[in-house]
Symmetry: D2
């Protein structure tokens, strides 16, 4: 089938390639003309036969918002827009409603796989109406891994991004888990070669996982991670996961701790620890052995 | 080769079977005569040709302590004792010193694999002197998974149990990660079928892992876990991991949060929340909309 | 001066009394006619001479929203509305804008003091334009404690509720701090009489505070808090504090832990600990001494 | 009465002064001859009439251990040793047993008050036998604040240090609470003058406390704490509090978070966040907007 794909960055470009390998036609648009197959959204729409499926793969927030708004004006009733970016799930209902005014369907798709997706396939969590999803299914089948898993129709509009958001929250805490273990092994002198311990865990243990495999790859590239700063970005989903948990009175101690560890990692100096240090000075002064 | 194996419970019994399948001779002893091949530790020692290798697989703490003390009196110089139980790594140096007085070698072995180890193999993290480990290697090879990983000589005496302890700390936080995500998905109504979302994550995602596969198995057996209480034991290693981190000034927020979540799960009523509730009563009373 | 006061519950009723004791005239309205001085908002507005000051002391959210909307239609240019409830600070700008369309001023006031405010005074954190605050100052002076502190013009509209929100976030963690200490003292058998330890801390220690005094009062009423469930509500500000922190990438580990402890305290059974327990069953079964 | 006082640092020196002001005789010894009244422990013991009371106020651990051991050889049956330092409560039973062999009594005293104790008095939490405590009571009365609180006989030997340990754990979380609130107020632009908000909280609020007063003093000295690094030491009691909680399966999320925040504040770069960053690189690379 034909697909219009908007956003041909690292993720979008690889997805185009994987979909083409499956025998589909992808017409891609990107603001960067060197990446694009067509020069404009209008040209993209004109190049597709109806009913069209257009996949939006641009940054969450304003870029996705404006792209979908523009598509609402360009597409026709019966067409379908898929938002495969990392949009906040609460944006999806708005986008669906805007498109529905024009008779255009909407599917939200959480996509996991990173740079490995081109070869291994992308895990897909999608939300929307069954008939809209059915229309995109050949593309989903091209993108997903070859096994029996890696695709789920998670519920109505928003469910795909919600599931992807929680996936990322879990990911934060799993990464933090390995990271805490690694730091402790490094800090103690009990274990001679921390990397070999991590490597051994890849089979037979309870904690074997793809993330562990990646950790071993990272340690093989730089055993003590000397070239890497302890500075970790977060991309939104972790924050939204905590906010969703607060909305539902669900305690998320490990995921939230992982998010806060990233916040702290980005501070040159910790304002809160300045006040703690100042308070310690006020009642006793540093170095008073008996404290207060 | 010949192995003496002490402790034939669920773990020890399966390990005997896996070692025998590899062609070795295992003489097992257990306090329960129905499980044992010999009637006493003395009989076990008598039945083995020297130099002997005796693997202790009994509960950590006093049972392991007393077994090793008894073996120190029964074994001969040149024999080797392996502690494959979940001993605290700080016990290992004592045990090694006690046995060394008699010329007996000591190896500590952290073993991961649970009920799956019989078929899949057991991951092994071992500590001790190279010549002691070499003497046990055929047994380690029989127990470990068939792939290239799953075994590591982690360092000197204690390193095996230290590595296993950190492994379990990581495991706590990984289990907590999936559990938090599951609770949030259940609490929100965005996703129609939480189990199918978990199932889909088994391929292509960043969070795919063996623990995730087990989570899906558990949900297949009882979709909403209605037959299971939210009550989680902990077996020592999580606590020791946090204590080791404190000794080394290493922050472990996610692992510690996971440990504390288990503590809380076992309380009928939370004493600390009684005081919080009492304080709220003191300054405003429940239901005062404007709070304090 | 004259004040219109809407909402005569436990907080509003006490505030009316304290303002009257200071010699001002308070005309109160409440949906409950037994509490009200006038039968309607219209009657309240009619009874006040312009320029009027009307203080809204009703639950945050829809009740405050609808009251302010109604007042926008009833009051005149030059009048001032004070929102003294626990509104989310992000609501304030909207309310100010709505009133400004009619030339009506707006002040947001965070109020702390609980049932003790009648005698001790209420701490006030207010936001808005200086001239609006000046017009209300006699009322603020009547409400505040007699000392030199307890009142602050925290900034523009929203600043009062923001400061109060953070105040409550801090309160959550302080209550949690005492509560954790109390539980630990109760759990260990080192200390004979935990209440007497708490009592002694009221003088000379670093941790003396008004909350500590309240804790002692609570323990005097019920030494082991046997009549109180470990069940703690939260009233919104704790959640908003965490959300504001997430918006600004500020780690709040202690405040968030305190919020989550309240969430957990309200669960009959913990869904997330069900999954943890289920996972433990999957790989080893309860009671397997060597774990996994 | 007469008191022998060993350790005349900032705390010990001030305590000597306060006890003297109450009319007692203090003979002080310190390794630093400029501070000492007598040249040796032997001279201290010789200078006191029996039954003697000797107060040890030296750093916890080896210095306290060796001082008490030496005193065991110098003092006579019927004398009493008070350990007023920040010893770990688990050391107390050993010290008491060692002294009891010589018929010497032992009292452990947790002391709070910092540099403010000289004028305000020191809060005292003491453990030991009633007759030993009675013998020291005049000194306790001299040291404690003038009000009715500030002294408690908390239980048998060890109870004083245990109570002081928990006191410090609570202190960690209270300091963290204010610190988190301060950082959030600074980070958001809602509030114009954070220091004035803190100042206002000193009366009428739920969170008023002595620590809050100290925070205002610190902000008055350096409004934005620009001269202070966000680097906070910890002196042992926080760690021991968490370890005691683990021993008793008591969850301490806020206190532990406060301890870990201090650990993190002392790291130039976070090893664990290196691994998190490395994992992010492995699956997607920085700057991939759609993440993984």
């Amino acid at each position: 089938m034909q697909l219009g794909l908007i956003g041909l960055g690292k993720m979008g470009g690889n997805m185009r390639e994987r979909i083409r390998r499956a025998g589909h036609t992808v017409i891609g648009y990107d603001r960067n003309p060197e990446l694009a197959d067509v020069p404009s959204l209008q040209a993209l729409v004109d190049a597709l036969e109806g009913p069209r499926v257009v996949w939006v793969m641009v940054p969450a927030g304003a870029p996705t918002q404006s792209t979908i708004t523009e598509l609402a004006g360009l597409l026709s009733a019966g067409d379908i827009v898929v938002d495969g970016g990392n949009s906040r799930w609460t944006d999806d209902a708005e986008h669906a409603a805007l498109l529905a005014e024009h008779g255009i369907g909407f599917v939200d798709a959480g996509v996991s796989g990173g740079v490995w997706g081109l070869e291994n396939g992308y895990a897909l969590m999608v939300g929307g109406q069954a008939e809209h999803i059915a229309a995109v299914q050949p593309i989903f089948d091209a993108l997903k891994p070859e096994g029996e898993h890696g695709f789920v129709h998670a519920g109505k509009v928003g469910a795909g991004h919600f599931a992807k958001m929680v996936h990322n929250g879990i990911e934060y805490a799993m990464m933090q888990a390995y990271a805490e273990g690694w730091e402790l092994l490094q800090a103690a002198d009990a274990v001679t070669d921390v990397r070999e311990v991590f490597r051994s865990w890849q089979e037979g243990t309870v904690i074997r996982s793809w993330l562990l495999d990646l950790a071993v790859d990272a340690l093989d590239a730089d055993e003590h991670l000397e070239k890497i700063r302890g500075y970790a970005e977060d991309s939104g989903e972790g924050r939204w996961t905590v906010e969703a948990a607060i909305d539902h009175s669900v305690p998320l101690p490990a995921i939230t701790a992982s998010l806060f560890a990233r916040f702290s990692s980005r501070q040159e100096d910790s304002p809160q620890m300045k006040l703690v240090a100042a308070l310690r000075n006020q009642f006793g002064g540093h170095g008073v052995s008996t404290g207060a």
